[in-house]
Each structure stands twice: as C-alpha cells, then as structure tokens.
Amino acid sequence: MTSDTLSPAEASHAPTARQEAWTRFRAWVFEVPALQVLVVLALAAWLVVTIPAIANPRSVTSILVITSLLALAAMGQTLVVILGGLDLAAPGYILFGAFMAANVAGKLAVPAVVAALITVLVCGGIGALIGWICHRFAVQPLVVTLGTGAALTGATLFLADGDYSSAPPQALRSLASLRGTTFGMPFPPIILIVLLCGVGMWIFLNRTAAGRRFHATGVNFRAARLTRIRTSAVWTLVFAASGALAGIAGIFIASYGSGWSQTIGEPYLFSGLAAVLVGGTIFGSIRGSYTRTLLGALTLTLLSTIIVSNGLSEAQSRIIFGIIILAVVSLYGRERHVRDRF
C-alpha cells in the first residue's frame, strides 16, 4: 500500500454554504410551526379545488367545530407530552364529562354550570392524584393513567347504569351546535372558546414564569428540582389540568353529538395524540406548544374530510393518519443519535 491511497475517511465532507443554509432553515422550521401552516393551507386549497361546493359557511363551520372538539380533547395531552409523559386516561375523562352532560345535566336537569364544575373537580382531582403519585413514587405515568382511565370508565358506566339514551340539555347543545351563534356571529361558541384557549396557552407557555418552569421540568427533571422548581406541584397541576380539560372536552363532545355511548372517549385518545404529534410537539421538548396542536387538529380534520369526500372509508383514513404521523415526525421529530448524547 502506498500513502496516497484514498481511504473513505479521506473523502472531504467540508460543509458548504448550502448545508449551512439548510441547517439554519431546519432550525427555523423547528422554531415556528411554519410547515404545519403550509400543510393546512395546502390541504384547504386541495379541498376547495377538488370539491368547490365545500366552500360554504355551513361546511366550514362544520370542519372548524370538529377541529375544535379534537383540539379541546388534545389540550391536556399537549401539556402532558411536553412534560414527557402520556395521558392514557383521556377516554375515561371524556366519558365522565359526557355522562355528566347527558345523564346529570340532561336527565336529572342539574344546571349545566354545576355539572361542568363537578366534571372539573372530579377529573381534575383524579388527574392531580395521578400527577402526585407519579411524581412521589417515580412511576411512569403511562401505566398509572392507563389504570386510572380504566377505573374511571368502569365507575362511570356503573353510575350510568345502562342509560345511554339521555342527551345534554339545549343550553349545552347550542354551544357546539352547527347552527349556534356567538354574540350574533354565525358560528357556535366552541370555536371561539378553543381559539381563546389557544391564545391563553401561548401566553402561559411563553410569557409566564410558571410556563417556563413547566417547560424546564419537561426538559430535565433532575435539574429542575435542583433549580428549586417545585416539580411536585408541576406534575400535580399538569395532570390535573389534563384531566379537567379532557372532562370539559367530554361535555362538548356529548353536546355536539346530542348524546353519548360507552366508547365515546376511545377515538379521541389516539386522534388527540395524533393531533399533538402531527403538530410537532415532542416528548419532553422545548418546542412543544398548543398552537401546534391546533394546527395538527386542523390538519387531521381537513385530511379526513378529503378522504371521506373522495369516497374512501374510515378504515383507509386510519391508514393515512398512520402514515402522516410517521412522515411528519420523521421529518423533524427525530430523536438524537446516541453518539450525540455522549
């Protein structure tokens, strides 16, 4: 062998200006959910071009209401995912909220506000307990929420005692009804409620000390403790919020559907998680935000509208959801290579 043999290691990999621009571009894409906005616009454009008839207020309202319900159901999940966990109790909370709306506020004619309050207290309380247990005993929230969700579902169905035919009262139904109006404007209040939630969450996550401490707890739990962040309070509150929000979502979901069933919460667990992931919020990451979840929910709703209007089935829309999740997350939600964690 002579010394001028070119080994593969010798091949130059000197970075070019193009690579640097690419790096900067990627950093920017990570920073703001620009890609998600583009996807939403592209899907909306596609929908309008292929089915011009969809561009009427009624259909748009319908898409937005469905998006709002999904986004509301995924709100708590967003917080839990930012913290680095997963809340599998969501179907239980949603079921309980739906039960309160239909059987308690509807059949028993308890005032809707009281029913909502009970939902928040019960779901929030259970969530708080989960958060506290997970933190105190250092157990993974995955299984604790799974167990609690099953227990809550069982308890709710026991309370319902086989009555799934009640419907929420008119006062609640008008909040999510397609014909509802908000201060005289032609869309139901839920859309405004979810938008306000989005703004509120953005301010909380980015512009308050509590929001930054919450993010820090998700990024590095041990360091957060040693930085005198009250991680126990963070965990308790986040899981409590997740429970309460999912419960409220359950009230709206039952109101929108004018009724409920034993499995009303199930679809929202995985679809909600899909909305969080497609939005680009990743476990224990600084980049997570609720704005992303809103965009994710809109993406999924537009997508299933396109799928259904093209005559494909529910089953096929699941397949496409699966592919979309994998594609979006592979694009920029990849974990670090083990060599970069050395």
Binding site: E10, S12, A14, P15, R213, V219, A223, L226, I286, R339
Partner: protein
C-alpha cells in the same frame, strides 16, 4: 515490511459540528509501547479527537490509520474490532446489571457469547483486582461508588487486550489508590507494546506518567514533546497560548460571624457526627477519596439531601432550618456536580438557563419581561467574561467551561450569602478555572461564604482558608490555612495526620 508508521496515526483530521469547528487539521502519532498524553483546555478538541479514534464520530477530512491500514470505524464496536479500546469520559455502566455483565458488556456478539462463564469470572476478577481491589462480581454495578464504576469501565477495556488503549479523563473520578494502581498497569501494558493515549487535566499526573505529550489548542495540535523536554510551564503556555504561570495562593484573612451551622450531621448510621460552622467571607474546602462522604455532606449543607442532625442558617432575626425549598429565601445557593444531569436544560437557551431560578425578578404584571431578563444576563455575561454566540442560542452550543460559568451566574443571580460548589472545575479547562478562582476570591472579599468540594488538591491549596478531609463518612481532619499543602491533604486522604497539628 513497508514504510508505513506503526501505531495509530491521525493526519490532518478535521471535524465540525454545525458552526463549531471542533478539530482543525489534528495530527497525532500514537506509537506502540508508549504512554502518550493529550493535553488541552476544554473545547480544544481533545474529546472530539478521542471520539474519532473511538469510532463515535467520523472525521470530515483527514486520515486515520492503524499500523498503516486506514481506519474507517462507524461505531465504537467497529473500532474495538480493530483493537482500539476507549474508556470514554462519561462513566458508562448499566446500573442494574451485575459487575460481571458490565465488564464483558460489548465483548460479545449480538447472540454469541465470548468465553465460558468460568473464564469470564476469573479474568474479570483478576483485572478488577489489579485496578480497584476486590469488587464482588455479582453486585449490581449501580451499587458501586463512582470510583469503582470508573475502574469497571477501565477493566472493560482491558479485558479486550487492545492494541490501542484510550483513557479519556479516566482518572477524574478515580480515587488516588486506584489511580496509582492504574498507572502501574499502564506501564506494564506499555512495556508489552500497547499504545496508550492518556488524557487528564491534572498536571501532576501528566508529568508522572507521560512518555510524550501532545498539546491541543482551539482544535489544532500545537506541539508534541518528549518526556525529557517536559516542563509544566511550557505545557500551560502551549495550552493557553500565553506564557508564565503565577501562583494565586490565597492570603489569610479574618472571617466574620457564623452564618451557616451544621450540628450533629451524620452521613451514615454509624459514623461520627459532624459539627460545622461557616463564617462570612470564608472559603472552606471539602475533600476526600471518592465516596468518603464529602459529596453527601455538601448536599446536606445545601438542604437537597436529608438525614440525622440539623443544618441551620443563622440570620440576624434568628436561626432557620435549611430545606430543599427555602434556599432562595435563606440566601444559600448550590451548584450540583453533574452539569448535564443535574444543572443544564440542554435544549433551552443560554439566557433561560441563567434565569430559571430567578424568573421572579423579570415579572412585570404577571408576565415575563424578556428585556429585563436580557439586561440581567448581559450584566453577568460581562462580569464573568462569558464567551457565546447569541444569548438565545441553546446552551448546548457552549463549551463545558462556559456552560459552568453560566451556571455560576445562575446562582450568583440569586444573591446568595452562602455559595456551595460541588466540584465546580471538574472537566473545566485551566483558563476558565483561573477565572472561576478569581471570581471566588472577589466574592469572598465581598463577604460571601463559599464551600467548595474539589477532587483537585492543588485547587484547594490555592483557594481555601481551611479544608475538611473526609474519611469513612465523617471528618477525619481539618487542615488550617497555614498547614495547607498538597502533602498534608493527600496524607489525610490516607488516614495520616501530619505531625504538626495534633
């Protein structure tokens, strides 16, 4: 034969990470049978060079050859197959696996086991004994002390009988007796023809063990010198790019009132209780062999660990017991030992890493005022001469030394009266170390009390007013300022009180 040089040769090796050029035209020739030391400040490219040799990273350009054959390892495994065994800087053990499994970890194939069980046991026992003394092979590795785990990692490299052995700061967490045994082992291996690359921040170790020394500075290899030409001043000059080495020995001075008091603090069930008083403006050193209680003691002082006895902060209005929560209110700040695991929020910005415990100061009407945060950060960045790109960059873009300065600023921003530092200069380059020393001197002159745990004896000699030496979970000796010397400290490590003070 051929005209290729034997051993491991790196020629013109470059590597960049994003915008950072970690290594520029690095050259190194590691000959069989020599102990070659690689020296350089943090961020000088040492670790990158090690990771290239160890198969973690691939160079962007340049060649790596082993006995004339190009090395193109894509993983540590590939490098090991070529006979290059690396003990990386981090202590890499699987805590709930047994010591035996840990020693042989990675030696096996995906399915195929190397050697029989009995042979594995006897070899592992033999190699471990030669470095760390007897360690039970069936104990979970997580129950070992840091020093023993480090020894385990070294044993893992040794059982492979490598042609090239790379020890990246492997002595940093090793206790002194194990280190001496490691040196004996290194000399024996070198005599048998193993090429050894040794990395350490401790000058005494470097001058003791090296056959040759290569100095890296800012990603470039600056010089290589033979043992006969070694001089510490020259090495430091090459590393820092400046000349001259001034001793910064602390002057004795009068301390103020007691501000922190530990009473009957017990670190282990049967150990002697410790009474401790910290006075205003004092710098107290804590030292001992790894695992002898000094780490637990500083955590007790900080209130992050609990146990028998009490630690109280003495304030004009009375005494207050310290807990995990009230450090802020009592003016006690604690900088933990492990930067990455216990302090850094790696994906968050430099500025936020600085501001997290003091976010309350940036609140305007319930919301955060980022301009106020920026102002506070800039003030500290100037006074600590922090080097960084932009304050909103992720903190992971900084070198280790600069990260440590940000963390120091994080705690100084809480206006502490008592600053507790757990090995703050571990893995920090000499330049930054000196800057940190200067800051500590200044702070203590202003009346702040500092407790510093350090594994570097020289540091304690230069810095402290007095040093507590820990042995077997209690204070073995307290060495006052006028008796502080490398010898007196090391003697106490090993249970010998020097004649002077009885």
């Amino acid at each position: 034969m051929n005209n290729q040089p034997s051993g491991l040769v790196l020629a013109g090796v470059s590597k960049r990470f994003g915008a950072t050029r970690a290594l520029i035209d690095g050259d190194l020739h590691l000959r069989p049978g020599e102990i070659h030391t690689l020296l350089g400040e943090n961020g000088s490219g040492k670790s990158t060079l090690v990771k290239i040799m160890g198969g973690v990273h691939r160079p962007d350009s340049g060649t790596v050859t082993l006995d004339g054959v190009p090395v193109t390892s894509r993983s540590p495994r590939a490098a090991m197959d070529l006979g290059i065994a690396t003990v990386f800087q981090e202590v890499l053990t699987a805590g709930s696996q047994s010591v035996l499994e840990n020693v042989w970890l990675g030696s096996h194939g995906t399915f195929r086991r190397r050697l029989g069980r009995a042979a594995q046991r006897s070899i592992a026992q033999d190699v471990l004994t030669r470095i760390a003394g007897a360690i039970p092979l069936d104990l979970p590795a997580g129950q070992l002390s840091l020093s023993e785990r480090q020894a385990l990692c070294i044993a893992r490299a040794l059982v492979r009988k490598p042609k090239v052995l790379i020890l990246d700061e492997s002595t940093a967490s090793l206790d002194v007796s194990s280190r001496d045994r490691l040196f004996v082992e290194m000399r024996r291996l070198a005599a048998e023809g193993t090429a050894i690359l040794f990395i350490s921040h401790r000058m005494d170790e470097v001058s003791e063990i090296s056959d040759r020394v290569t100095v890296l500075r800012s990603g470039r290899s600056v010089s290589t010198m033979e043992r006969s030409d070694l001089s510490i001043n020259r090495l430091i000059a090459d590393m820092t790019g400046s000349s001259g080495h001034a001793e910064t020995r602390r002057q004795p001075h009068d301390a103020g009132d007691t501000i922190l008091q530990g009473a009957a603090v017990r670190l282990a069930p049967a150990s002697t209780p410790i009474d401790f008083e910290l006075r205003a403006g004092e710098i107290v050193g804590l030292a001992g062999l790894e695992g002898h209680g000094q780490d637990q003691f500083i955590k007790r002082l900080a209130g992050v660990a609990g146990g028998p006895g009490s630690v109280v902060r003495l304030l004009p209005e009375g005494a207050a017991e310290l807990t995990e929560r009230n450090g802020d209110a009592l003016g006690v700040a604690y900088l933990p030992r492990e930067r990455r695991g216990e302090s850094l929020f790696e994906s968050m910005s430099i500025r936020e890493n600085f501001a997290l415990p003091t976010l309350g100061k940036d609140r305007r009407g319930g919301l955060l005022d980022t301009r106020s945060m920026a102002r506070r950060f800039d003030a500290f960045a100037r006074s600590l001469s922090l080097r960084f790109g932009a304050a909103h960059d992720a903190i992971s873009t900084l070198s280790g030394g600069n990260q440590q300065k940000v963390l120091l600023a994080r705690w100084l921003a809480t206006d502490p009266k008592v600053l507790l530092l757990n090995d703050p200069t571990r893995g920090v380059d000499i330049g930054t170390k000196r800057e940190i020393y200067a800051i500590l001197h200044l702070l203590s002159a202003e009346g702040m009390s500092v407790v510093i745990l350090s594994s570097e004896v020289d540091e304690l000699v230069d810095l402290a007013d007095r040093v507590l030496i820990f042995r077997d979970q209690s204070v073995f000796a307290q060495i006052p300022h006028f008796e502080l010397s490398t010898e007196s400290i090391v003697a106490a490590y090993f249970g010998q009180k020097s004649e002077v003070h009885t």
